[in-house]
């Protein structure tokens, strides 16, 4: 165990007497926590995985880099001191950021840390009391959280000590601790609620979707904040002017800070100060005392025999004969009979059903949509009327939408070859498939059909509605070019059989490069199209040429031989 873990473990075990009173076995608690912390050291947690997606740090530096990133995020929270007129407003925003960021982090880490299904077989059959087990999970989360929140609080401490002095810091510390506790139990309660309302099978899917929404929300907030800062109304907002805020927990912590820092004979502020202490403590007590036994029960069901029961009942139902005629319809249009069509349908279904795939691709698509929307918002004076008038501004908007929508597909293409269950791809290798390229082109086409096709159709409809029939040739040309760019990038890089390689190997590392090159090529082609925009005959001819070239490249992919495909697996 590293020194950080050792110190934190000692700290959380300090209230041992209190734990004992709750019926916790201290020796068990320490043993479980020690093992869990050793395990944390040896595998990346959710937060570190998140970073890993963006930049490829080796796992052993993860703790240091996690803390560094946490300091950066904590600095970002300081932006809230730019909003509003007084400290109570600043801090309400600060705690809102803090609580929601921590909650999003915890939701992802809870699935990997708290819902370690192996605990059901390893710890639960042992003579460990429910209270000990639940407390070990909570303290584990707490230690885990401390490794992130301590560095995250440093910027605010520095800021406050310079700006207001040490009294402000002293008032801040208990509040940030209470806010942290509150967040932990908030998430715990949400988990218990979801477990109560739904089947364990659906549970992880719901959590995944919440994570995806959070990730996109933060990305949008991150992008929007600088824009809002220049808004005069926002800059002078006073949070106490609206009583609705009284129900928001971040306001309690903010009011609590205010009262601790600068005591006022205000009954209202004193109530909120009391709330900021009582609520986290009470929720801690409720979770351990009442929810713990039921929670364990439900947890053991996640892998329990309900799975068997559920499959049995499904088997009893009449089978749906034609589950996705839409995908089959698309497959008939876009693919050749045989291996390519099979590759298409297989990839289509896997992309819709694999949680792992969705967790990686949907947030990336969300980011791209945020970027595309903001990009268009950022263009000064851009408006729908420009698109309708087809002036220079309108043309640029059309081209931006066309070429940036291509980015949506990149992460899907990068992920489609990767899977935790990559070993199941043996079926492709033992089956007598003559040219594996067919499977690959089928998979690439499935990505395009599932992610790009709806966007392209929507773009065509919206732009035609705004700009009239005259934009159609240009839109089609843009779509053809995007297909060509995608096809070429797939020809060069995407390349293994669908869902056949382990995740986090070198295959994913070219992601950033791919985004940049697609953007650069897209911008270049878009700029060329700008000059040819009004010469419809040329656009039509070029559309045919570009479409033909795309078809040609797809054909090239479908002709990949086994020798070429095997070579892709050897270097990883």
């Amino acid at each position: 165990m590293n020194i950080i873990n050792t110190i934190l473990l000692k700290l959380v075990l300090l209230p041992g007497v209190l734990y004992k009173k709750m019926g916790v076995n201290l020796a068990h608690l320490k043993a479980i926590l020690t093992a869990k912390l050793i395990m944390d050291d040896r595998r990346p947690n959710g937060f570190q995985q998140m970073q890993q997606k963006r930049r490829k740090n080796p796992v052993r530096f993860a703790t240091v880099s996690t803390m560094f990133v946490a300091v950066l995020i904590g600095s970002f929270f300081l932006l809230s001191f730019k909003f509003g007129d007084n400290y109570i407003t600043h801090f309400s925003l600060y705690f809102s950021f803090y609580i929601s960021f921590l909650a999003s982090l915890l939701i992802s880490d809870f699935t990997s840390v708290l819902i370690d299904i192996r605990d059901n077989y390893i710890i639960l059959p042992k003579p460990v009391s429910g209270q000990t087990f639940v407390l070990s999970r909570l303290l584990h989360i707490l230690i885990h959280v401390c490794k992130i929140t301590l560095p995250m609080a440093v910027p605010a401490i520095v800021y406050l000590s310079i700006k207001l002095g040490w009294v402000a810091v002293a008032a801040y510390l208990p509040m940030i601790i209470m806010a942290t506790l509150f967040t932990i139990f908030l998430i715990n309660a949400i988990y218990i609620l979801i477990l109560k309302l739904t089947t364990p099978q659906k549970f992880q899917n719901i959590i995944s979707y919440i994570q995806i929404v959070f990730a996109i929300f933060f990305y949008a907030a991150y992008q929007l904040m600088p824009r809002l800062m220049n808004n005069v109304r926002v800059a002078h907002y006073d949070i106490s002017s609206s009583t609705a805020w009284f129900f928001v927990p971040s306001y309690w912590f903010s009011a609590g800070w205010q009262q601790l820092y600068h005591f006022a004979a205000s009954a209202q502020l004193s109530v909120f100060l009391a709330l900021s202490f009582i609520i986290p403590m009470a929720s801690l007590w409720v979770v351990i005392k009442y929810f713990a036994p039921a929670f364990n029960q439900k947890l053991s069901l996640i892998t329990g025999s309900t799975g068997e029961a559920a499959t049995a009942s499904i088997a009893g139902k009449p089978q749906k004969t034609n589950p996705s005629s839409y995908s089959e319809w698309l497959a008939n249009i876009f693919t050749k009979r045989g291996a390519e069509r099979m590759g298409f349908l297989f990839t289509w279904k896997m992309m819709l059903r694999s949680r792992e795939f969705k967790m990686k691709v949907y947030p990336a698509i969300g980011y791209m949509i945020v970027i595309i929307v903001l990009m268009n918002l950022n263009m000064k004076n851009a408006s729908f009327s420009d698109v309708a008038a087809q002036n220079a501004q309108g043309k640029t908007t059309v081209l931006l939408i066309l070429y940036f929508s291509n980015l949506i597909i990149i992460s899907a293409l990068a992920q489609v070859t990767l899977s935790e269950k990559f070993k199941a791809a043996w079926v492709f290798f033992v089956a007598p498939v003559k040219t594996p390229g067919n499977l690959i082109s089928g998979a690439v086409k499935a990505c395009i059909a599932q992610f790009y096709f709806p966007v392209a159709v929507a773009t065509l409809i919206v732009l035609t509605a705004l700009g009239g029939a005259r934009v159609v040739p240009n839109v089609l040309f843009g779509v053809a070019n995007c297909l060509l760019i995608t096809a070429v990038s797939a020809y060069i890089s995407a390349n293994k059989l669908p869902f056949s390689a382990p995740p986090n190997n070198k295959a994913g590392s070219g992601g950033f490069l791919r985004v940049i090159s697609v953007m650069v090529i897209g911008t270049t082609v878009g700029a060329l199209q700008y000059f040819l925009y009004d010469i419809t005959a040329v656009i039509v001819i070029l559309t045919l040429l570009s479409g033909g070239a795309a078809w040609f490249v797809f054909d090239g992919i479908s002709n990949f031989t086994w020798i070429k495909v095997f070579s892709r697996y050897e270097d990883s």
Partner: protein, 257 residues
Amino acid sequence: MGNPIISIKNLWKSYGSKAVLKGIDLDIYPGQVIGYIGPNGAGKSTTVKILCGLISDYEGQVFVKGLNLKDNALAVKSTIGYIPELAELYDVLTPVEFLTLMAELYNLDKHIALERMAKMLAAFGLQANINDRMDTFSKGMKQKVLITSGLLHNPDIIILDEPLSGLDANSVIIIKELISKLAKEGKTIFYCSHMMDVVEKVSDRIVLINEGTVIANGSFEELQQQQGNESLEKIFAHLTAKESLSDAADQLMSAFD
């Protein structure tokens, strides 16, 4: 025979509206090796989970060493060594780290535990690997660590769920020998498996369940007397298969026509 060490009385368990166990009655005596067999979905693993305290919302009564499982879950758990079917363990830990955790949870003295685990792992031929992370281990090596973890605290009752999966032929012999030696020491073994030939050889008593009820209960010889002088595999098929199995094979073959 004395008092039963495990006594199950009218045990019912349902998942939603689906009853998995429908009134199991079973008395198990110290030193017995029970072969607990049944087709998939018969309720074997549900019984095991109840005995191990993983499921507590069952109906009926379960007594272990005279203690009601519902009221004394922790005391019961300490007398049981459970070796689960899947090689579920924290594989980023080393065997020593993992087993130290197990020993701690069973309130075992650390020095005794270290000595025992060293001896047991050495007996399995793992002495060179005791400080390697288990994520590099083969399925059989993991299974050996798992077996060690179930036996470390010297439990009176040992529940084995398909313990031979992934083990090579030599290790299988070791485990079979071990089971009979443990039984001679007075340990009670609860052995769940689909491998009829092994169950036939190691068990003193065979309990066959189907659709949540016990349909046969006795020594292999007793079963043979009731069902005709046949192998356990054949007896199992007679009692649990709804249709003739050779018909099923015929149907499989006819799919080619």
